[in-house]
């Protein structure tokens, strides 16, 4: 056997096999194997684009002749655009370009003439193949009353795209000439098609195949190496002694929050109150703060200063204990990749005047991670359930205020902030107005109704777990009331998110505690549904109306989400690995995405998106270990926190979570609680020191003795 293995250890051979498989898979990702002739055909990730313009003018150009009052009929370019969309024209274009007619799609115009209703009625007949399914695409554009017809083409190569545009122009010219001859229009009354210069184009994403192949190779290799690593550990574990027992649960400390004089937990509680009750991102302070800073920034700086002071000056149990968990690693990696993507695309971002925006967003991201690190290092495991109780209380207040706003049109959060706090409060222009599908815009303390719905929705799992696991009837009733008020507040926003996002959290609870959820939650849910209906009348019907099968896919906001997938392809594939710059895809400038995963894919690329997913995954995985630990108060808190992370994961599908600070801060606060409950240092600090060392070791080896699960 050793003759075949050349004496190479088995684990290295396995790594080599894994990397070979990774290389094959990476190749298959970007190349399609063909049998006749045998070979590899490139998959269509790369594409080129070309653009040409035609001026539809009068025989004596109106641009040069002052005697002409107008520029001829302004609808000519539109007429031509509509003609070029027809099947006959499409076939003619394909013939001229030497392409199969079925491979060519034509569409447009898009600038201002397409009808965009809020509710789209689906045709009963089977629709034609989607535009984005074609390799060769032509888009015609014309602005009402303007004499220029723009022709865009997309094809696997820029040369083919150029050919497509030229063919389109040729087909149009021939069609116009034929029509003129057939109808015998006098020469002076014929429109004249003037060229506006050469057709230009280029390859949009050259090299994307190689980038994807390299990324796939790295990911598959990493997965293979991880597999070999785990296998090696398993083998060693079988042959070794049983692992040392985990440290015993922390005994209750006398100075745990809230019965403490430690400033840091109180400051964190204050920050949490600010996040959940104040429209802090709309408050403009009377002092200038760099990077578009709002109220959260000075408060966080104060919190950070206290934290740093405690780290340097305080000894013993009051000192923040920094323990790096997997969540820290994922968050730091995400931040680093976001910085890297912005730096690598800095010339373009500066050129487009978007680099400052990216810097502001990076500072905001750093603020989230700073809050997470502070919470994870300050909060003790025993304090986590108490912070959860505070969070539920604050959510109840926020939801109650929201219901008041829904019923009376009075937003206490903005009004009272303006009256009590220094600086000015920017009240949203759309506050309490109707949106395009007739929903009242209810803001509560947040910056957007969807943000409010998600923020209170994130707290629902905590209240539900309280209801499920409380042994006392009195507490269960209190939690049931809290759930009712929170749900009433969420539903008052009349957003689909208020139902869809918490539903994801409840599914996580159902997965972990199926019997309890069925036995206790369903009866309570029925009663609460009735009460919520009374508190926010009409809201439930409005949301379930939006969620009904006949409307769900046809509402504009839902359709726009799916329309985004093709529209962002150039931005995604141009910078496929690290993106064009974190949060640089400004919705006011380009397109409202309504899906933060897409935004992240554009902003931080595939690698950055994976890092973001790693934050969610590591947070849930860390919570999972605490849930399975069986430590009653902590496992319940971790379960609710995990469900809350699921709410954020679903909300990320629905809107840009990271640009909404209420939701993002709350998410990183909850992630901090999970890390605080997991961090081995936190638990070891409170646990009595083991009496007996399991084994002696040399100093060098002692350094390697790290607690399992510390990274």
């Amino acid at each position: 056997m050793s003759r075949f293995t050349l004496g190479i250890p088995r684990r290295f051979r396995l790594v080599a096999i894994a990397m070979t498989i990774a290389a094959v898979l990476a190749l298959l990702l970007v190349y399609r194997p063909t049998l006749s002739p045998p070979g590899l055909q490139e998959r269509g990730f790369e594409f080129g684009v070309a653009k040409g313009q035609i001026l539809v003018d009068t025989p004596i150009s109106a641009l040069a002749d002052a005697d002409q009052d107008g520029l001829g009929p302004g609808y000519f370019p539109l007429t031509y655009a509509l003609y070029l969309r027809t099947d006959a024209a499409r076939a003619a274009i394909a013939r001229k370009a030497g392409i199969d007619a079925n491979a060519v799609a034509a569409s447009g115009p898009f600038t201002e003439l397409l009808f965009r209703p809020n509710i789209v009625i689906r045709a009963a007949v089977r629709p034609p193949p989607n535009l984005e399914d074609h390799d060769y695409r032509v888009v015609l554009d014309a602005t009402s009353g303007r004499p220029v017809l723009s022709i865009y083409a997309q094809a696997p190569t820029s040369e083919e795209a150029l050919t497509l545009v030229r063919s389109t122009m040729q087909v149009l010219r021939e069609h116009v000439r034929e029509e003129e001859e057939r109808s015998r229009v006098p020469a002076t009354e014929r429109p004249t098609l003037r060229s506006l210069g050469a057709t230009e184009g280029g390859q949009v994403n050259s090299g994307v195949n190689v980038e994807l192949a390299v990324l796939a190779f790295i990911l598959f290799s990493a997965a293979g190496i991880a597999f070999v690593y785990r296998r090696e550990r398993r083998l060693r574990r079988k042959a070794a002694e049983p692992p040392p027992p985990p440290p015993p649960p922390a005994p209750p400390a006398e100075d745990d929050w809230p019965r403490t004089t430690r400033l840091l937990p109180w400051s964190i509680a204050g920050f949490l109150a600010m996040v959940m009750l104040l429209p802090f991102d709309s408050i403009k302070l009377p002092i200038a703060i760099p990077m578009d800073g709002k109220l959260d920034r000075p408060v966080l700086v104060l919190l950070g200063t206290l934290w740093l002071g405690a780290l340097l000056a305080v000894k013993g149990r009051g000192r923040p204990r920094i323990a790096i968990t997997r969540i820290h690693v994922a968050a730091l990696m995400f931040f680093a990749l976001a910085c890297l993507g912005a730096v690598l695309n800095a010339p373009a971002l500066v050129n487009l005047d978007e680099f400052t925006l990216v810097l502001k967003k990076l500072v905001l991201l750093a603020s989230y991670i700073a809050l997470f690190a502070i919470v994870a290092s300050v909060v003790r495991p025993a304090e986590a359930p108490r912070f959860v109780a505070l969070m539920i209380g604050l959510a109840v207040v926020a939801a109650f205020g929201t219901v008041i706003e829904y019923r009376l049109g009075f937003n206490a959060f903005y009004q009272w902030s303006a009256a009590l706090l220094p600086g000015s409060v920017g009240v949203p222009e759309t506050l309490n107005t109707l949106d395009s599908i007739g929903r009242t815009s209810i803001y509560g303390p947040a910056g957007h109704p969807v943000e409010l719905a998600t923020m209170v929705g994130m707290v629902v799992p905590f209240a539900v777990v309280g209801l499920l696991e409380s042994p006392e009837r009195r507490k269960r009733i209190a939690y049931a009331i809290a759930i009712g008020v929170i749900f009433a507040g969420a539903l008052a926003t009349q957003r689909k998110t208020s139902v869809v996002a918490p539903a994801a959290g409840l599914l996580v609870l159902l997965a972990y505690r199926p019997r309890l959820v069925v036995r206790r939650l369903i009866p309570v849910g029925l009663v609460l549904g009735l009460l919520v209906g009374l508190a926010s009348p009409g809201a439930i019907q409005s949301i379930f109306g939006q969620l009904s099968p006949s409307k769900f896919g046809n509402v504009r906001s839902t359709q726009d989400r799916t329309a985004d997938y093709d529209g962002v392809a150039p931005d995604v594939t141009r910078h496929v690995l690290l993106g064009r710059g974190y949060e640089s895809y400004d919705h006011t400038k380009y397109r409202i995405l309504d899906n933060a995963y897409l935004g992240l894919l554009i902003g931080v690329g595939l690698v950055g998106l994976l890092a973001y997913l790693a934050i969610l995954a590591t947070t849930m995985s860390a919570a999972h270990r605490t849930i399975r630990s069986g430590d009653p108060p902590l496992s319940g808190t971790a379960l609710a926190a995990s469900a809350s992370v699921a709410v954020v994961a679903v909300a990320t599908l629905l809107f840009d979570v990271l640009s909404r600070p209420h939701v993002a801060y709350l998410f990183f606060f909850i992630a901090g609680l999970i890390a605080a409950m997991r961090a081995p240092g936190m638990r070891a600090a409170q646990a009595p020191r083991p009496e007996v060392m399991l084994r002696p070791a040399e100093p060098r080896e002692r350094e390697r003795m790290l607690p399992a699960g510390s990274l």
């Binding site: 594409f47 313009q53 641009l63 005697d67 009052d69 600038t111 184009g201 070794a240 080896e701 390697r704």
Partner: protein
């Protein structure tokens, strides 16, 4: 992994840490600067920006401002058409000739149906691709016009304010030449020309710095974080694989007194 362990690991891997810091610095410098020439000099990758703007009025031979009988309302529609023509390849090349800036470095955009900054047109992939191709183009022109006046506003962006002004002024020259060329080609009535009135030289100013320092700092921080995380992760994975409870009995050291 606790802070003390992190510091201990990093102090143990001093060489690796030094390499990470050196690599981070080198990477950050290369991300912020481009080495050019021999001996190589560092040239910032991000350019400072200058902006300029100017106006062009479509007028009559006898200026509308001093002629009570002048009717320039028919020029309003013409202005919209000219805005579109200004974004064409033909005019781009004419502007390049007039300004002495290579045509491949110039891009044009507009006219927008609503003020720029208000997103209302969802561009399909094909149209967006054309914009994406021009993202790194450093000389940029944007045109707009009010809906009721025959006035074209040109906004130019270039690496320096002087170049931006040159670009904006060249737009007027190119447009005038285009219209004159059309008139000559079509033989329009020379007594009733369309007058393109230059409303004065372009006003220019700086927009922002080159952001080189910010790029340098961000690049350094990013690579440093990734490098340090890699160091720590490798160390932790090795330690976990060799953790005492995973070792075979023969690998364990002989028993001894516990250390404090």
């Amino acid at each position: 992994m606790e802070l003390s362990q992190i510091l201990r690991t990093l102090s143990k891997r001093r060489l690796g840490l030094a390499a990470v810091i050196a690599f981070s610095f080198a990477a950050a410098v290369l991300m912020a600067y481009r080495p050019v020439g021999m001996p190589p000099k560092l040239e910032p990758r991000t350019v400072a920006l200058g902006v300029a703007s100017k106006q062009i009025l479509l007028d009559l031979p006898r200026p509308a401002a001093v002629n009570l009988r002048a009717k320039i309302s028919s020029h309003v529609g013409r202005t919209g058409a000219l805005l579109q023509v200004l974004t064409s390849v033909r005019l781009e090349r004419a502007i390049a000739r007039a300004s002495g800036i290579p045509a491949r470095l110039i891009t044009t955009e507009g006219p927008h149906p609503v003020p720029p900054g208000v997103q209302n047109v969802v561009r399909p992939s094909e149209a967006r691709s054309a914009e994406v191709l021009d993202e790194t183009t450093t000389y940029r022109l944007r045109f707009k016009a009010p809906s009721t006046l025959p006035l074209v506003t040109v906004r130019a962006q270039a690496p320096t304010p002087a170049e931006a002004a040159r670009l904006a002024d060249a737009t007027y020259v190119a447009l005038r030449e285009y219209v004159a060329g059309l008139r000559a080609e079509l033989g329009t009535d020379p007594r009733r020309p369309i007058v393109l009135r230059d409303m004065g030289p372009a006003i220019a100013g700086p927009l922002q710095g080159g952001m080189t320092k910010a790029v340098l700092v961000l690049g350094f921080v990013a690579v440093l974080i990734l490098g340090v995380l890699a160091l720590l992760t490798i160390d932790v994975l090795r330690a976990r694989l060799n953790a005492p409870h995973l070792m075979r009995p023969e690998q364990l050291l002989p028993d001894g007194p516990p250390r404090s």
